[in-house]
């Protein structure tokens, strides 16, 4: 009995001694799919290898829509984690205004983020009143059309090189029993695809003007009428894709049951896992082949105020680690996203990723919708477009009228 007690005391002492050197840092994120989990494990490995701290993984399944409320309620409720992942942009705006997140400017200055982060708009999205509150870790872009080469071979057609050819090829696909286009039932996919049509067919400037400046006249204008026409074409093309999740929709393209899908560059992870090769099995068209442009959204880590000096030191160490060159390479190769610094070498990147890097290098970039819209506005757009794409009885004109209302009332 006595010896057990001694052992217990000893272990307690050891634990107490251990905590002097390093902190356990709980990091919450919603990266739970195969490729995502592998990518975030790279962060954990680098963080533990380069510092003495311990990464406590706080993955929340169910995607951003489920994870964000959980994270926010923990922060507001006074039980903040060490660090958490959000998308770039306005999602964390109010948390920053309420003083719940830590100012990380000192880390950014020490590490020289101003000089290395490319494009600089990523850092701007982290900046409020001249202070930097987050560490951007990757760039994801939405403007990609993924096409199944086999589906077009089956109908003796050339693989389309742009949106119009794709639309023209749709009837033949339909006749061959192939759904021309895959679209999952989740609301964000519908509004996401529409925003891509808008950014490519009407141009990035139009999107910037409508979402950035809330220009309701532009939203009601001819350019947008054409986008809504294209969206109603798309609605006919997606009839029959009875799936919910985005990766199930991507899977329809991988298995050649659907001709193509508009989805962000994270879809290429699914193609890679299925062993497909870019160019022979599938084709990717950045900017729908209409205009070569990619948006620079992505993920960033934020650090809540904890008032605990040890945790703060660990937070600083994590922020610095996230942007180190080797961390960036290891993480982004697994995640299928682009690194936030242009001075790292992604030799093993596949063709589609290289196309993305080229466009990024040429500077043909646009802000992500998340940077321009609040979640409230995004939610309204989700409601509108998920209804529009699933219910053929809503005319393009009606949808545009509702779109104008949302733009006019946005903040």
């Amino acid at each position: 009995m006595k010896s057990i007690r001694t052992v217990l005391t000893a272990t307690t002492a050891l634990c107490a001694a251990g905590s002097v050197y390093a902190a356990d840092l709980e990091v919450t994120h919603w990266w739970t799919s195969g490729g995502e989990a592998a990518a975030v494990a790279e962060f954990a490995r680098e963080f533990e290898a380069q510092t003495d701290n311990t990464w406590v993984d706080g993955a929340i399944a169910g995607g951003g829509g489920t994870a964000r409320p959980v994270m926010v309620s923990r922060i507001i409720g006074g039980d903040p984690m060490g660090a958490f992942q959000f998308n770039h942009g306005r999602q964390a705006e109010e948390l920053i205004e309420a003083g719940l997140l830590r100012d990380m400017t000192h880390v950014a200055e020490a590490e020289g983020w101003k000089d290395i982060v490319n494009p600089p708009s990523l850092l701007d999205a982290c900046t409020v009143d001249g202070k930097i509150y987050c560490a951007p870790v990757n760039i994801h872009s939405w403007q990609w059309l993924w096409l199944s080469n086999a589906a077009f071979e089956k109908t003796n057609q050339a693989v389309p090189t742009n949106w119009d050819e794709f639309v023209a090829a749709a009837p033949a696909l339909r006749e061959a029993g192939i759904t021309p286009m895959a679209l999952g039932g989740q609301p964000w996919q519908s509004s996401g695809a529409f925003n891509v049509l808008m950014a490519t067919l009407a141009g990035p400037d139009v999107l910037q003007q409508i979402y950035g400046d809330g220009d309701a006249e532009m939203a009601a204008g001819d350019k947008m009428t054409r986008v809504f026409q294209a969206a109603s074409n798309m609605r006919e093309m997606v009839q029959g894709s009875n799936v919910q999740d985005w990766n199930q929709a991507t899977n329809l393209v991988i298995t050649d049951q659907a001709g193509g899908q508009i989805m962000g560059d994270w879809a290429q992870g699914e193609f890679a896992v299925a062993g497909e090769v870019a160019g022979t099995d599938y084709t990717c068209l950045p900017g729908l082949g209409v205009i070569e442009v990619i948006s620079t959204g992505g993920d960033a880590f934020y650090f809540p105020e904890t008032g605990d000096a040890e945790t703060e030191a660990a937070q600083d160490a994590l922020a610095a680690t996230l942007l180190k060159p080797n961390t960036q390479v290891a993480f982004n190769l697994k995640k299928g996203s682009l690194p936030v610094r242009s001075d790292v070498d992604l030799e093993t990147a596949n063709d589609c990723m290289k196309k993305g890097l080229e466009i990024l290098g040429s500077g043909a970039i646009m802000p992500d919708v998340n940077m321009l819209n609040t979640e409230d506005t995004n939610n309204q757009l989700n409601d509108l477009f998920v209804q529009f794409f699933q219910d053929p009885s809503i005319s393009a004109d009606d949808a545009q009228a509702r779109f104008v209302d949302i733009v006019a009332s946005k903040d």
């Binding site: 964000r68 409320p69 999602q91 705006e93 109010e94 009875n242 409230d376 939610n379 998920v386 219910d391």
Partner: protein
């Protein structure tokens, strides 16, 4: 020394003390929380509650939102059908079980079993059963009737009935049990008297037994109604509100705007409207039920 009259407040003092925590909880959590929610529904609160009042703006936006109107319509359809069908089915099943049949225990267990499942499980089970590629439709196609078409979850016009099927499957067993308990509470002499008078048994049920079962019906109605108003998990598990927004319900609208949309004000306004709707039904009923008793 004359005995002082006991003060009324101190009668049953221990029982009153025991009730204090519950009373406090009810006052603070229910009444206080409700008042707070209603107050903040008049503000422009986004992610965090802020006392910046904007009058009826949130309500104006709410009633101009097609999704809210769709969700109300769905709740109305679901509510009326659920109320009527589960009462009718539950009563008929109970009446059938009451015929002193063999294996009554077995049947009762089978019928009550779905109620042991959560709405999430129920929703998932019926999502698969109603999936045209895997469920009922494909089974019947394989049996040879290929023109058979039954995919309510993928048809925006009838999706709410697909949800209703699952809801009925889950909830009818409980209604049946309550009804059966009510039927067993009816004195056998009444049946004997009715038989002596030569009244057919269906007439006995409708004109004698059902009026006598009024308290059971009211209990059942309250249970069903509360289940209808808080309809949320079944929708999330079975359809996710889809296709599009065709199977949305008010509770889901509230959750989506409060948490995902980071717009507390809008969510509060919607939940206040839900509260109002419940009060409109409950207050007249409570008045009839409890207010009238004084005169009896």
């Amino acid at each position: 020394m004359a005995a002082t009259r006991p003060i009324r407040l101190f009668r049953n003092i221990s029982a009153k003390i025991a009730a204090i925590p519950m009373i406090l909880t009810a006052m603070v959590v229910f009444v206080g929380g409700t008042a707070w929610t209603v107050t903040y529904s008049f503000t422009s609160s986004k992610l965090l509650p802020k006392a910046k009042f904007v009058g009826l703006d949130q309500y104006e936006r709410l009633w101009n939102t097609p999704r809210w109107l769709v969700s109300l319509e769905n709740l109305l359809i679901y509510g009326i059908c659920m109320m009527v069908l589960s009462l009718v089915l539950g009563f008929v099943l109970a009446a059938l079980l009451d015929q002193k049949i063999r294996f009554e225990n077995t049947f009762r267990t089978i019928l009550l079993y779905p109620f042991a499942l959560s709405f999430i499980v129920t929703g998932l089970v019926w999502q698969w059963l109603l999936n045209p590629d895997f469920g009922i439709q494909s089974v019947i196609h394989r049996m040879g009737w290929t023109s058979f078409n039954f995919d309510p979850l993928y048809n925006a016009d009838i999706v709410i009935f697909g949800v209703l099927i699952a809801g009925l499957w889950q909830g009818t067993g409980l209604v049946m049990c309550l009804m059966l308990a009510g039927l067993r509470g009816i004195d056998q002499d009444i049946w004997k008297a009715a038989r002596v008078d030569g009244i057919p048994s269906w007439k006995t049920y409708i004109f004698i037994v059902i009026p006598m079962m009024r308290p059971v019906f009211i209990t059942t109605l309250v249970i069903i109604a509360s289940g209808i108003v808080r309809l949320y998990d079944l929708i999330v598990a079975q359809t996710g509100g889809g296709p599009g927004i065709a199977s949305d319900v008010p509770a889901k609208y509230v959750y989506d705007y409060m948490f995902q949309g980071q717009n507390l004000g809008q969510g509060f306004a919607a939940s206040t409207m839900m509260l109002l709707a419940v009060l409109v039904v409950v207050i007249p009923w409570a008045y009839l039920e409890f207010g009238g008793k004084k005169h009896v």
